[in-house]
Symmetry: none
Subunit: 221 residues, 2 copies
DNA sequence: ATGAAAATAGGCATTTCTACCTATGCCTTC
DNA sequence: GAAGGCATAGGTAGAAATGCCTATTTTCAT
């Protein structure tokens, strides 16, 4: 089984390489320090690696962008995403881009070997944490806006206003859409800022998207 | 742990009941022969069951319809879908409706016990087959809209400004952070609005998050 | 070295946002 | 029936954002 590594940290790459050599039947295909190098190497080698360990944080061409290209040009290549943290947004994004697994960097070597072997055998491997994120994502995405965390705290009207803010409407536009006074929209916006503990509109949108408080289907894309 | 069963076949229900009594710490809450009976029983009992085994094929009110109502009225109730076949469409549908697990009827008692225990402990359990269906569904659902990446269009400085906007900084704050004039930040912000085709800050944040143009790790949560 | 793009910065005008207030009518819950 | 939450709406201010201009310097590639 040939494994390639794409990570910007030299030391990390070397460390992983050492670990991989200890694994039965595993061979290092090549290493890359950024997404561009990775693509260059993939284009250069004659036999493609079976599995790629792909770091999210890389200069020049990062993991997300690299994954988009991989999905297009090398759909057969199974890649395991390496990241420092469990980030909801990244997990979802990378799974959507075809990631075979999502491995946090402070996992044990045993975790890594297990992940690699599962990916080799079944084509993918999602641990409990990742599955949980995926499940949340499926359920909240299809059951439009309905969630527990902040969902309990904000009122229906506030949610409507939040939705429209995320759809790039200004206060007067929202007022017109909801047939209420702009001042009322102000009030709801202020409640949202307070309840969601934000400093400005940007914060509201971040929280709304991260917490699934709005219906993404109604938005751009 | 109290478990309820909803299945139209008397013999199957009895058989499952017998099996359940063999499991450590498991107690039968009640049985129902169709969806309507299930809802009646749920409304009647004083203490809700912890887990529900829900058959898909039932007369009067089938599993799918029952699940919709369960999701609405008893969102806390974890239900395990029982079905005769692995059907992609059903798996996807039921997971969307909040199913905690999908168990085919010719599984072994050990499989069933394992599923029940995992659901009790983690809140859900998807076996390899189910996971595979979910994965296919996610990837194919999100692949079509292959839109252009904005990554290449925005400059480094613009990306930095975008990042800080998403971190809820105002223009003067961003200017101070980057040691440049607020007017320059204005310029970058305007370029972003233009390049990303947005109407306001809210739009910028939406695009930034959806397209992964910013480092989520540096943000709230 | 010439042109293109990026980064820098400003003027001016308007709109929008945010932060303090107050206040009323309508529900539901206790 | 009192209390509290919600939706409604307004006053006043100042801060921020947005639009539409111009202009310089740097940087990079042809």
């Amino acid at each position: 089984m040939r494994i390639a590594i794409a990570d910007d940290e030299e030391l990390f790459r070397k460390g992983i390489s050492m670990l991989l050599t200890d694994f039965e039947g595993v061979e290092l295909a090549f290493q890359a320090g950024n997404g561009q190098e990775l693509l260059d190497q993939l284009a250069a080698v004659e036999t493609q690696p079976d599995i790629l360990l792909l770091d999210l944080n890389m200069p020049i061409l990062d993991g997300v962008e690299a994954a988009k290209i991989l999905q297009e040009k090398y759909p057969e290549l199974k890649f395991i995403v390496l990241s420092s943290y469990y980030s909801k947004a990244f997990i979802v994004k990378m799974i959507e881009l075809g990631a075979a697994a999502y491995l946090v960097k402070n996992s044990t070597p045993e975790d890594m070997e297990h992940t690699i072997r599962e990916v080799a055998e079944k084509g993918f491997y999602y641990d409990d944490k990742v599955m949980s994120v995926i499940r949340d994502n499926i359920i909240t995405k299809t059951r439009p806006p309905s969630r527990v965390s902040f969902r309990n705290e904000i009122s229906n009207r506030e949610q409507e206003v939040l939705q429209l803010i995320c759809e790039e409407l200004t206060t007067p536009e929202i007022a017109a859409r909801l047939f209420i006074s702009p001042r009322t929209v102000h009030g709801h916006r202020n409640s949202l800022l307070s309840k969601l503990d934000c400093k400005n509109t940007a914060g509201l949108v971040v929280v709304a998207l991260q917490e699934g408080l709005v219906d993404i289907k109604r938005m751009r894309f």
